[in-house]
Symmetry: C2
Subunit: 260 residues, 2 copies
């Protein structure tokens, strides 16, 4: 890293790669499972297996955090759990609000994985007055009129949006104006936010579409490979360019309805 010597403070400076950050929760989960089984140490190989990555990547990732392992031995499970938790900011309490208590909002409110990692659902908020006061996951749903007050009182900096697409930007604006600086968006909408506000998007139908792409590809490859090779031919079957093209639909009227 530093061009010259490998004097100490090479890493740990600043700027953990985004790809690494995205994997830290994975490692944390695997480590937590080991911790519960009272496993004292783990090698990069073992941990990588449990987290579903390869060991070189894992070691590289950890090298951005510091030198937390012991050569010849591996990593101390408890110590790593602590270090990663701290790096991710999970040693503090994060109050979150969920806006939009439909099916998905309710599912999230009930989701154990939130509460178990320092995230506390501070409020459930919905615009529908008939929802107000209803109990969901043991909490009373509050009306969206209260949004600003709730954010303020609870010091909320993370908001989860599970409204229909049409309401998402509006809700987002209010959250941001009230002081929220991180948003997890489940609505099928591109949110516009000022600089300094983070948005992460989870889109269920996008994930399926990506799967469909690969699924189609697989089907096409099978067709291309079958005439030439047997059933279990390994390696790339080098499909003809254009083999994936399907029978040219009569005319393109496809399902193009926007989800709510």
């Amino acid at each position: 890293m530093a061009t010259g010597r490998n004097h100490r403070p090479a890493n740990r400076s600043r700027g953990i790669p985004e790809a690494t950050v995205a994997r830290l929760p994975l490692y944390l989960r695997a480590l937590t499972a080991l911790s519960e089984r009272s496993v004292p140490t783990v090698s990069s190989e073992e941990l990588a297996g449990a987290a579903g990555v390869n060991s070189a990547k894992l070691r590289k990732d950890f090298s951005y955090l510091g030198s937390y392992g012991t050569r010849g031995v591996g990593y101390d499970v408890e110590y790593l759990v602590y270090q990663i938790s701290r790096e991710l900011g999970l040693t503090q309490d994060w109050p979150v609000v969920i806006v939009g208590i439909g099916n998905l909002g309710a599912a999230l409110a009930n989701y154990g994985g939130f509460a178990s990692r320092g995230f506390r659902v501070a409020a459930l908020i919905d615009a529908d007055s008939s929802m107000t006061g209803k109990q969901v996951a043991g909490m009373a749903v509050q009306h969206v009129d209260e949004l600003e007050a709730i954010i303020d009182t609870n010091g909320v900096s993370i908001g989860v949006i599970t409204t229909p697409g049409g309401a998402a930007q509006q809700v987002c604006d209010r959250l941001v104006a009230a002081g929220v600086t991180s948003i997890l968006n489940f609505a099928p909408t591109v949110l516009t936010v000022p600089d300094g506000v983070d948005v992460r998007k989870v889109d269920l139908s996008i994930e399926l579409q990506i799967l469909a792409f690969h699924e189609q590809r697989k089907a096409a490859e099978e067709l291309a490979a079958e005439p030439a090779a047997g059933l279990a031919a390994p390696g790339l079957p080098a499909p003809e360019p254009g083999a994936a093209r399907r029978g040219q639909d009569p005319d393109g009227d496809l399902p193009v309805v926007m989800p709510a």
Copy 2:
């Protein structure tokens, strides 16, 4: 691309970058919205804005599909909708099964975004006998004993797992054995699958953890910047290395409970 001339079949050969595939659904959604408003053509700049990417990236992405634009004009909305849909395999019908009809499974069953893009929920499956026959999203929940028969009868190749983590691998194995080759996994578990099976993972708590990381970072930067600059100082405040380190928690007992 081809080293020599730019004779035709440079792109369109095979291998659309994964990153591009992941964005196609985004473009498709933006285009669908334009289509509904009967907008005939769109420039890369406009479409990129609507999809939340920059225009160079969008043009590069489209160049992998082919030359579907018109210089000086832009892209024909309907034509692009069709081409992207075809590329993603959405011109055909994809029956999917959802296994694990808890809160999240029910939310997905009700989610409009699935049905609207060629995905058809063929069955809802749960291991709990007391769920069997219950109506969810207008369908009767079926018992997991029927899993293989359902997959087979409906020609299902995509499965969605919304079970608790402990059941996920087992369900996954059965899905794969029954012929499913693409899995969308919502359970907090790393699934092991044979070659040729695709798994995509959606993990709600991971997304929050990533947000928390950045949130913490922001808080630290603010602290570092405040003594020096005013409230609204733009640009990078060039925080001191190490500034992000927090007050060293007393000792690491953190919330380390695994979600179900």
